[in-house]
Amino acid sequence: MSHPGREEGLLRYGGWTRLNHWLVAISFVLLVLSGLPFFHPFFWSLTALFGGPTMTRIVHPFIGVFMTLVFFIMAIAFFKESLVKRHDIQWLKQIRDVLTNRDERLPPVGKNNAGQKMVYWIMLLCVPLLLVSGIVIWQPYFADAMPITIRRLGALTHAYVAFLAIITLIIHIYSGIWVKGSFQAMIRGRVSKAWAKHHHDLWYEEEMAKERRSREIRRESRKPHPPQSRGTE
């Protein structure tokens, strides 16, 4: 049972981070659903979700601009923790162990593992490319002003980069389902200490060091005050 005023586990994602993440996630999923019909006629029926084919064409770019905006806010916040470290390379080399759940063989990693970092960097590459290529084919506002070669290149780039982003998204979503506790972390913000120690040992140690320090400070402040200070009363 948890004590009042004290929450279980470690805070992994703060409230603003979670809000930001889910704004990106929802707009990204809407973009996939509204973009796939123009990718291949196989997905044409998805236009029904957005009020018809023309309406889908109209709303898609606006969602895109919104997504880019919230994505960049998140990208700035996640920048430092997404820098690739030496142990990440080792972790990636052992991707077989990752996939077969032999986690005990893996090197300890920081707040994000190499997979999460790859999602970050791939998306950081994709989103600006999608924004620029999307703007040059955006009817009726920008496309007419673009030279034909740029429009063709834009359409081609948009389709290929979207494919890369969608595959990355699928892997990202699956990882959230596969690694128990991570989805909950993005919903409620917290993870258990065992989870942190198991998946992100270096981050766990950092957090524990912080906790020890704050415990010490608390203990210092509880100590009886020296007599001379009491004399001033």
Partner: protein, 306 residues
């Protein structure tokens, strides 16, 4: 000559459609062609007027900028324009080359390949490439797909428009409006076979009159066209206001719309399936109750020590 059916049962290609279109009635339909003999054109623009008249199009009255071209370019309300060129030939003489510019009705239409809206662009058995604007979503992909820079998106309704080769008239056994209006016989209409015959007669005549390089413009790169030119200088189509020398669907459009898309669509589906089967076989990453307990025990012993 039969011009085809108006009941849409003779469609040989349909945009964004992977299954066969209704085409049982395509038997015995001759492919049609509009032949434009540039050497006989006097630039009267009767065809331009007839086009507006028949199609109920009234483009804005523009401004004269000092050349005969008016409007200066194709618009959603002008399916065709006359393009005037002052060309100085090898003998130093002036030739006034006047080209009627409109949709070429390619046998392999780039607009149709690029269009994502099922049925917004169709190609009839007679060769006419038609925009079914009711299905058009206004994305402008046809503009990117066209090797001749023909389709225009209307500001009124955000739909794409271009010359229909008067498909409505042709269905009823009539020639296109521009053909009917031409006073010099510069624009002719008939089966492709007949038109190529006629074009050859004209080319031979032009050659006998000193135009050594006279020839037929029926570019192979797009599978041939259902609008064919007779040019005095077929070796230099670019002098006719940048008529492309070897038009073909851009490799970028092919790469964008070709086999990669069904492959990538399949890959998206496979990626999701792979995830599911990975979960079923390898299972989730879970923290066991013992691990949770061990970490908790560690922590409380540490707190007590302090």
């Amino acid at each position: 000559m039969r011009g085809g059916q108006i009941n849409l049962q003779d469609i040989i290609a349909r945009s964004a459609t992977t299954v066969p279109s209704p085409q049982v009635r395509d038997g015995g339909i001759d492919p049609v062609t509009k032949l434009i003999d540039v050497s006989r054109c006097i630039g009267c623009k009767a065809c331009q007027v007839a086009c507006s008249e028949w199609n109920d199009l009234r483009d804005d009255v523009g401004e004269c900028v000092g050349v005969y071209d008016n409007p200066l370019d194709l618009t959603p309300d002008s399916f065709q324009v006359m393009r005037f060129n002052e060309y100085e030939n090898e003998q130093g003489n002036l030739e006034w080359l006047i080209r009627k510019d409109n949709c070429m009705h390619c046998a392999e239409p780039g607009c149709l390949e690029a269009c994502p809206a099922p049925g917004a662009i169709v190609q009839y058995a007679n060769g006419i490439v038609d925009f079914n604007s009711e299905h058009c979503i206004g994305c402008g992909y046809c503009v990117a797909g066209c090797p001749f820079d023909i389709p225009r998106i209307s500001k009124k309704d955000s739909k794409a428009y271009k010359c229909t080769l008067c498909s409505d008239r042709v269905f009823h056994g009539l020639e296109p409006a521009c053909v009917k209006s031409c006073p010099t016989g510069s624009i002719m209409f008939g089966t492709k076979e007949d038109m190529l015959d006629l074009a050859e007669t004209r080319t031979n005549f032009l050659k006998s009159r000193g135009y050594e390089n006279a020839g037929i413009y029926d570019p192979e790169g797009v599978g041939g066209t259902h609008v064919v030119y007779v040019l005095q200088h077929a070796d230099k189509p670019e002098i006719y206001n940048d008529l492309p020398k070897d038009p073909r669907i851009s490799p970028m459009v092919d790469a964008w719309k070709g086999v990669t898309k069904p492959l990538m669509s399949a890959a998206v589906g496979l990626a999701a399936l792979t995830g599911f089967f990975h979960y079923v076989t390898a299972g989730p990453k879970e923290i066991s109750a013992e691990d949770e307990e061990a970490v908790r025990a560690d922590e409380s012993s540490e707190e007590e020590r302090q």
